[in-house]
């Protein structure tokens, strides 16, 4: 075989062997290693992207939740505020109502107290006035209060029609003596039923079918009290 042809064939075979060996020893493993490295980088990048996406999603969820909670909190706050205002209004209304009721009750009690005090004062003043009148009559040596009152009653009975003098009842603070009894019988024109009522103080109270004629000291006292009330009691004592 010629050296040139042998050279040609050997070089061709040598290069094929070299290419095969380099492909198997160098190119294939290095390419595989680089591919693995690239895949690892791609996977890490994908993982990173997934983590980033997840973090972004979590952030968005957190923002949504925050917004939702803020909205709910605002709504709850508004609702609680409205409820508190309603409750406060109710409490205030109730308190005002209670206050008004108590004020009304106190005013009623105060009026009743004033009324009773005024009436008591009027009674007291009437009694004092009656007592004073009686004492005055005794000092001026005039008829006794009983006699004066019975004469006044007899005068009023005399003014009545005769038909209105039926079934008479005479009440007196003390038992009538013969003179006053006769005076009354004359005025009534008939006998009458006698009753004793010490509460009258003095004088008589005559009840007939037409009505009642009160000529007692109590009646005078009441009249005086009525006059006092009509004239106006001091501030705080008027009924």
């Amino acid at each position: 075989m010629s050296p040139t042809l042998a050279n040609f064939l050997f070089e061709a075979a040598n290069f094929l062997v070299l290419a095969g060996a380099l492909g198997w020893l160098l190119f294939k493993p290095v390419r595989a290693a680089l591919d693995r490295e690239r895949e690892r980088h791609a996977k890490e990048e994908a993982d990173l992207k997934a983590l980033r996406d997840e973090a972004e999603k979590l952030r968005a969820d957190a923002a949504d939740a925050h917004a939702r909670l803020t909205s709910e909190l605002d709504a709850s706050r508004t609702e609680a505020l409205a409820a508190a205002e309603r409750a406060a209004a109710e409490i205030q209304a109730k308190a005002e109502k209670t206050r008004d009721e108590r004020m009304a009750g106190l005013e009623r009690e105060l009026d009743a107290l004033r009324q009773s005090q005024a009436e008591g004062l009027a009674d007291t003043l009437g009694r004092i006035a009656a007592t004073s009148v009686q004492r005055l009559l005794e000092r001026v040596d005039g008829p006794s209060l009983d006699a004066a009152l019975i004469r006044a009653a007899s005068a009023e009975i005399g003014a009545l029609a005769k038909g209105a003098r039926a079934a008479p009842v005479v009440e007196s603070a003390r038992p009538l003596d013969a003179e006053t009894r006769g005076l009354l019988r004359g005025a009534l024109g008939r006998d009458f039923e006698e009753r004793s009522d010490p509460a009258l103080g003095a004088g008589v109270r005559v009840t007939t079918s037409a009505g009642q004629i009160d000529a007692s000291a109590r009646s005078l006292a009441r009249e005086a009290a009525r006059e006092l009330r009509a004239a106006g009691l001091p501030e705080g004592t008027a009924p």
Partner: protein
């Protein structure tokens, strides 16, 4: 370094098969490349952060990008083929600077063998990518009358590949050998550096052209 241009002395006859100096050099270069490649791959697989691993990665990426840019797409078999071409031719240029060691690429038989391998790789890659009909159909385009021209083109570029590499490598060695013979040692050192640069450049050119040819065969018919 001798001025022996075309002769390739037979070192020993193994029966009818002569063992020449170019054969031994080529085999040695291949062995060295295989060992270095194994070390680089081992470093990449076992010690990912070592300098050897970084060198292996850089070498692989350089060759991959070189082939991909020329061929237009990634093709692992082409990367191994063209990358081996680059490494072998570059290693031959480096070894050729050693005194008394001729670069295998300064032998026309060796460069012809490489060119013929490229010539064969082109239709093989085209058939693998496009099928037999899909690949050979392009020889009849745009007109069947152009078939002879296509064939002549294929052959001529193969011859050009072979002669370009052989001429550049042989001329550099010849110049250096002549200057050594005339002026002695150390004088041709700049020329040796230039010769090394030219050798590396030829490795780059040979690889680029082989990738372009194979890439064109892979993409044949895409333009239509």
């Amino acid at each position: 370094m001798s001025p022996d241009l075309f002769g390739d002395p037979v070192l020993v006859w193994l029966g009818p098969f002569p063992l020449t100096r170019t054969m031994v050099t080529s085999a040695a270069i291949s062995a060295i490349l295989i060992v270095v490649a194994a070390l680089l791959a081992r470093a990449i697989l076992r010690r990912d952060d070592s300098r050897m691993a970084a060198l292996g990665r850089l070498t692989f990426r350089f060759l991959r990008d070189l082939v991909r840019d020329a061929a237009g797409e990634e093709w692992p078999a082409l990367e191994a083929f063209a990358g081996s071409l680059f490494l072998f031719i570059a290693a031959a240029a480096v070894v050729g600077q050693l005194p008394g060691v001729p670069a295998p690429t300064s032998n026309l038989a060796a460069t012809s063998a490489l060119a013929v391998l490229v010539f064969l790789a082109v239709p093989l890659a085209g058939i693998r990518a496009r099928g037999v009909g899909g690949y050979f159909k392009h020889y009849l385009k745009p007109n069947p009358l152009l078939l002879p021209l296509h064939i002549i083109s294929e052959l001529s570029r193969t011859v050009a590949l072979s002669l370009r590499l052989f001429g550049n490598m042989m001329s550099g060695h010849l110049v250096v050998a002549l200057i050594v013979a005339l002026a002695g040692f150390f004088v041709p050192v700049p020329l040796m550096a230039l010769d090394l640069l030219i050798g590396l450049l030829q490795a780059y050119i040979f690889t680029i052209l082989a990738s372009v040819y194979v890439g064109a065969a892979i993409r044949v018919g895409e333009e239509s």
